[in-house]
Subunit: 315 residues, 2 copies
């Protein structure tokens, strides 16, 4: 395995994709404070919130207020999730840098999650794209279940790429391939990313991984080796999956950055500041978070000999 050289672009999703799965409302001020802190950490993009119905996701009912109150760093793009025309109008009024649209590549998952068929989603999102395109706001489409659907199983590469193609024809700037429930595995990621880059080299590709089955870091490396250089990740590894209760969520920002930097990749992220922000999460969400580096520290954070250790013969 060669030492990494290239720049990897990190996109933080904790305040949208992470918080969205939390039960207890995180205060608007706390959200703003966290995003402002994250804005000092070297990300290339931050997904701030979602302009969805406040009834559907009460956690993000303060979308306008958050989006308008944060201090935007000139080197960072601020993106928001936009489900429909109404959401697009709200997002544009906040002058977001990017609108992140979402649909599933699996029929069952789209119907379960979005309550419509994929074709209905595509028609709706096409309207949204037309609304946004005359503005300065860029359009990204997140394709869920790109590496498998928890109800249908594998989504074929042909199906996946046909949806990419349809959005590419609409002139979107970027596509995110989402491993919604952590079904991706390294050789598959490698095949999908290679094919994507071959056919859609001009699109901005983001890989969105979940650590549901422990493979997120491995999949990230497979994606990088196949040409990807841009990842969504969530502080603390927040974000869950209703299909796998107790399983971990999004790939943890700090775990991913920690590994990539050790390997020589340049993420631009200030890991110490990220860990500092992550350490505040348990108090915000009232539970432990899955991140490993947050618990164990960086590999060279050295320790004194434990005072109480017995002869343990551990290896």
């Amino acid at each position: 395995m060669q030492r990494g050289e290239k720049k990897i672009y990190m996109q933080e999703v904790v305040t949208r994709d992470g918080f969205q799965n939390e039960r207890e409302f995180v205060g608007t001020d706390k959200k703003i404070e966290l995003i402002n802190k994250l804005s000092q950490c070297g990300y290339s993009k931050i997904e701030v919130t979602s302009f969805t119905s406040p009834k559907a996701i009460p956690m993000l009912r303060d979308a306008e207020q958050v989006m308008k109150s944060i201090t935007r760093h000139p080197d960072i793009e601020y993106t928001v999730l936009v489900p429909n025309l109404r959401g697009a109008e709200r997002a544009l009024l906040c002058d977001v840098d990017e609108a992140n649209l979402v649909m599933s590549t699996s029929e069952s998952h789209n119907q379960t999650n979005l309550r419509m068929t994929r074709e209905e989603s595509f028609r709706g999102l096409s309207e949204v794209i037309k609304e946004i395109q005359p503005t300065r706001t860029a359009v990204n489409v997140s394709l869920s279940t790109a590496f498998g659907c928890p109800m249908e199983g594998d989504v074929t590469l042909k199906t996946l790429l046909s949806w990419v193609e349809r959005f590419a024809e609409h002139g979107v700037r970027g596509i995110t391939l989402c491993d919604t429930t952590g079904m991706a595995y390294p050789t598959q990621v490698s095949e999908v990313v290679t094919e994507f880059k071959d056919r859609f080299g001009d699109l901005q590709l983001t890989v969105h991984l979940h650590n549901t089955r422990g493979m997120a870091l491995t999949n990230a490396l497979a994606a990088i080796q196949a040409g990807a250089d841009r990842f969504d990740s969530a502080l603390g590894g927040l974000g869950g999956c209703p299909y796998a209760p107790g399983a971990t969520g999004n790939v943890s920002t700090e775990d991913l950055v920690h590994m990539l930097e050790l390997m020589g990749y340049r993420t631009g992220i200030d890991l110490e500041q990220v860990l500092d922000a992550a350490a505040q999460l348990p108090a915000l969400v009232h539970h432990d978070v899955p991140s490993q580096v947050l618990k164990a520290g960086r590999r060279l954070d050295l320790h004194d000999a434990p005072s109480s250790i017995k002869e343990c013969l551990g290896n």
Copy 2:
């Protein structure tokens, strides 16, 4: 990333390295029952117990009874940890297939864990090797902190390989490179394994990974790509690290096998039976275990649409 082809040898360490870290005694009958079940799962080796002082590790005070009572499968080697001459004598009386000796490549860690200098350890283990060599029992040496020491930091490749060389000169069959506190990262693993295989190609190499910082699966792939084909792993990911409270332990057998089999590697492991055994662990150790696949299921264990799911717009 190429599809894997080769055979990967799996060595289960849960009843020794896993249980050793548990507070509450696991009954002798339960241990025997678990090992007998694991013996039906396709492992190439099972580390049964440790012939250490019952006072030092009360959990494994039933070493003789367990070793003599299990039903040994003809295709599996049964290994035990042996700390000293007394342990070697006890192990030989039980006719073990392999004795697993252990010392640290870091001076501080050896002194903290084994209460002697590395040179003292080496002299003691040399005596043990001489005692065992005339018998049918093979000798393996586990080198702790091979990828870093939590107190000293990096262990140089030169230091590591000098210890390998000294044991190789003593004619041991195998060496295990242990990432005792999860400090290994993929490019480092790649470099270490490549160098090891170049210089000591005749030794049986085992890679023993911990998932303390989330990189165990990635490190396993890096090791395989560099020529390794043999791994220790623990059912449920049991086994901890006193230097990182709350952090996860050994790489989980089921998570590693799940990934490798998806990639085309042949582990010979019956994953369904392994998951069945892992599911019994929480009742044995009275707490949740870190394994991810145990919680989330295999990637193609499909689900019905959750009845209570809201429009969640998850990606």
